[in-house]
Symmetry: C2
Subunit: 552 residues, 2 copies
Amino acid sequence: MNNEFSPFHNERSKYQPRLPKALQGQVQIQPVSGSAVQIDAEIQKLFPTTTGLETVKLVSNDSSTAPAPGEPITVGVVLSGGPAPGGHNAIAGLFDALKKINPANRLLGFLNGPIGVIQGDHVEITPELVDQYRNTGGFDMIASGRDKIESDEDIERCTRALSMLGASALVVIGGDDSNTNAAVLAEKFKARNAGVQVIGLPKTIDGDMRNDIIETSFGFDTAAKTYAGLVANVARDAKSAKKYTHIIKLMGRAASHVALEVGLQVRPNLTIISEEVEQRGWTLNQVVEQIVDVVVRRSEAGKNYGVIVIPEGLLEFLSDFKVLLQELSILLRDSEEILNAYSSDEDRRQFINMKLLSESARVYATLPDSIQHALLKPDKHGNIPVSQIETDYLLMDLVKLRLKELRLEGKYKGQFAPLHHFFGYEGRCVAPSNFDAEYCYALGYSAAYLIQGGLTGYTVFGQNMLAPTEEWQMGGIPVTSMLNLELRKGKMKPVIKKALVELEGKPFKKFAAERDNWVVNDAYRFVGPIQYYGPPELADARTITLRLERGE
Amino acid sequence: MNNEFSPFHNERSKYQPRLPKALQGQVQIQPVSGSAVQIDAEIQKLFPTTTGLETVKLVSNDSSTAPAPGEPITVGVVLSGGPAPGGHNAIAGLFDALKKINPANRLLGFLNGPIGVIQGDHVEITPELVDQYRNTGGFDMIASGRDKIESDEDIERCTRALSMLGASALVVIGGDDSNTNAAVLAEKFKARNAGVQVIGLPKTIDGDMRNDIIETSFGFDTAAKTYAGLVANVARDAKSAKKYTHIIKLMGRAASHVALEVGLQVRPNLTIISEEVEQRGWTLNQVVEQIVDVVVRRSEAGKNYGVIVIPEGLLEFLSDFKVLLQELSILLRDSEEILNAYSSDEDRRQFINMKLLSESARVYATLPDSIQHALLKPDKHGNIPVSQIETDYLLMDLVKLRLKELRLEGKYKGQFAPLHHFFGYEGRCVAPSNFDAEYCYALGYSAAYLIQGGLTGYTVFGQNMLAPTEEWQMGGIPVTSMLNLELRKGKMKPVIKKALVELEGKPFKKFAAERDNWVVNDAYRFVGPIQYYGPPELADARTITLRLERGE
């Protein structure tokens, strides 16, 4: 009973991720001819040496004998941004492949995210260290951080640190921003002949770093399954106790892939998808009316309980709220002096109220006092703290008001007892599902071969991922081929476009075609917690999103 | 992709719970001679016909040939109180055993809890119905409710309903209150020769319905494992992102078994146990100081993150808060008229403040305004709405204040960013772990034999539960032998004493011996989600509480 590690840890550490066939023996890099895409001229200017590259695939080369190992190399790896299940396996795969290529190769883990690269803070990844973390969740082996390597000084310091350590490559494990950052680093290192290659891996539980080439980002599978399991448990509770309406907020600011996947898996009575809200131009009031409609219809069917799922970032997609935020942002910037001159929050609120255009004033007035006040307190960067607004509480307040009105009109006779949940942090560091464990291992493994092949400025991808692991196709896509210029804080910046939920995509269309049947019926599906063992239908299942997008 | 049921549901429905050997063939009831305990005279008066009974065990009787099935009987089953994992398996076990005893036996499920018995609302449990729910979580097969069958009129109506349906037995699946209620019903039915036996099953995720005879209540295993998995995920996130202090509230009002089990499994930096708080007479301030101490010590070790677990019911165990609540309760009752005469909440608050004794006034003044106001609004039964106080937010507010003070004094230089979680509803309706699936199945199965044996007023138990399922000993304990008289709302009532965490018990002692090592070290154990398949170390694990209490 005094084990340092849990039985789960001990059992999972025995799991050996299967490898795609192409990675099992000798591996060679095969450019996909004609895959170089047309790059925007502005992007070309920013990335003169790393544009025009071709996508590459990793194929097996078993005809050749093992090449003599070249000079041993030292590679650095860094975790960037929020944790996602599988990060440790990415490092383990990278480690194992580097050692397979040349047992004298070394892997250094930079600590606490990009700041670790800038400062040269690192640990050597040893077999003992990596073995403790195989198939585990979390990013705690070397920890993560949200700093960016942006300024010339940062890049100078990184170059120096990597050079001091003798590192000739850096693997960046991160999302769209971090992979963009990887492209910038690749370009700068190449431009100054620093002799450091940069390879990115696509990480994010949000599922929004993907495209025609990258089938999915790692971590999405595990996190979405975790949330689906929890939402299903809550749905079963709703149906058992029959007295609460559970409103469940799911992590995901920009994209609603997680909410959509959970919606498809569990079939809550209502699942709101931010992309639909934005495209249809729905207002706060329209969303409130949708929720009210669900509550009233269920109540008429004798069901004073239910499950409603909303994405964390909803508020910023509401048409009227967006305008309000824009107006507020300008007002707060332009009236800073006047606002500071007022002695009370109440005075400031009245001043703002007076200045807002009528439609925004109406929306603003709808909000509870505490939120009205909070919105007037920008952070040190001048950003309005939208994320501090508890969207679910706001919606429920407004739903309650509307139900009271309907009750007075005799149009609602039910009971409404909302309970709130937010699922996010409990899904980012779960031990990776078998899918994510193997995907991450293959991603890290592949990165070693892209480095061996001398490539830089690439993001690793997996394809054919509905098939068993052995049949996956791994490869690399030039990051610059994914870049677009977008306006960020007044400046045009190259960024990887986030993959949002497409209303014309198969997952959303299936959801849209079926959701009406889920409003009044209790069509909940109870999906259970992630299973790492047992029937392949459970242990090796793919997300519904992946299955629909890639063929089924 | 159009399956009505999830793959998890379909796979789990194939699971066949193993049965204890004693239940596999012919079963006979064996009284444990000398087991009848001394019963309080007052209890005897209340239960003249159902006291003085002996504990019984179910043993195999394979020497005898199968007895000719007697007259077929009809049994009712009802779910009472909050859901707990395994309820459906209890019904399935009851159903299967009744059919084994006599294929013509019938099982009726009363709908929505005890009110269903009173009103005679029921469904017949058919093979098709029960097969849909085998090994599933939730209470939704027949739903649960919190009504009690108390008044003479209620009992009269139950008697009539059961008689109309031809039911000669009722199985009550519930916690301490519901089993007490089962004893009352058994007595009343016997006293009026209603010809209805009553058998209870020990259900509660809180783990507080147990004693020397009943080793554990069902649902505790699954719920505690679920919460431990989630807390471990959050701990891993804390250690990966290194910027948040997670304060996690766990379901459990009266007893802290769940928090203790999670503490032992996961080893958060601090786990507060209500029973210890109460026995040591800790005040609100003392608990705040403990949390502050953990935050400061970790910060000095460079760790501005952490995990703190508190039980939902903590507030009511704080010595000063208890006194405040008592004073408030009396004040609100005695000053109702004066309070109603005041026109503003603020006036009411000032009045109360003036009337409180100085120590309580100090505690009251510590509370945020919103809580001060909330406490002055008793519910329709005159109860102060303590459960509406968000204990975790209250504690963090006070911790923040204290840290600010320490910072000014130069004694704290860290960062403190708390994040809140409440885990409860996501653990009550999980599919039962193999342990709970088999325990519940055996409980229901045993109930059928207690009924066949003509017993009434018994709660079913399992023993030897660290051993494999086949070696479990099932039996029945007279409910009256568990009853005590306690003051409830001014009246002496017979109740089953809740099993609280014992500070001298093995689980708490182990926790107390080790917890100092968990404060600054990140000794978190990552326990993973419940596994239903795979290595027995995971799939058939027992809780640490059970293992420590029963021998290891």
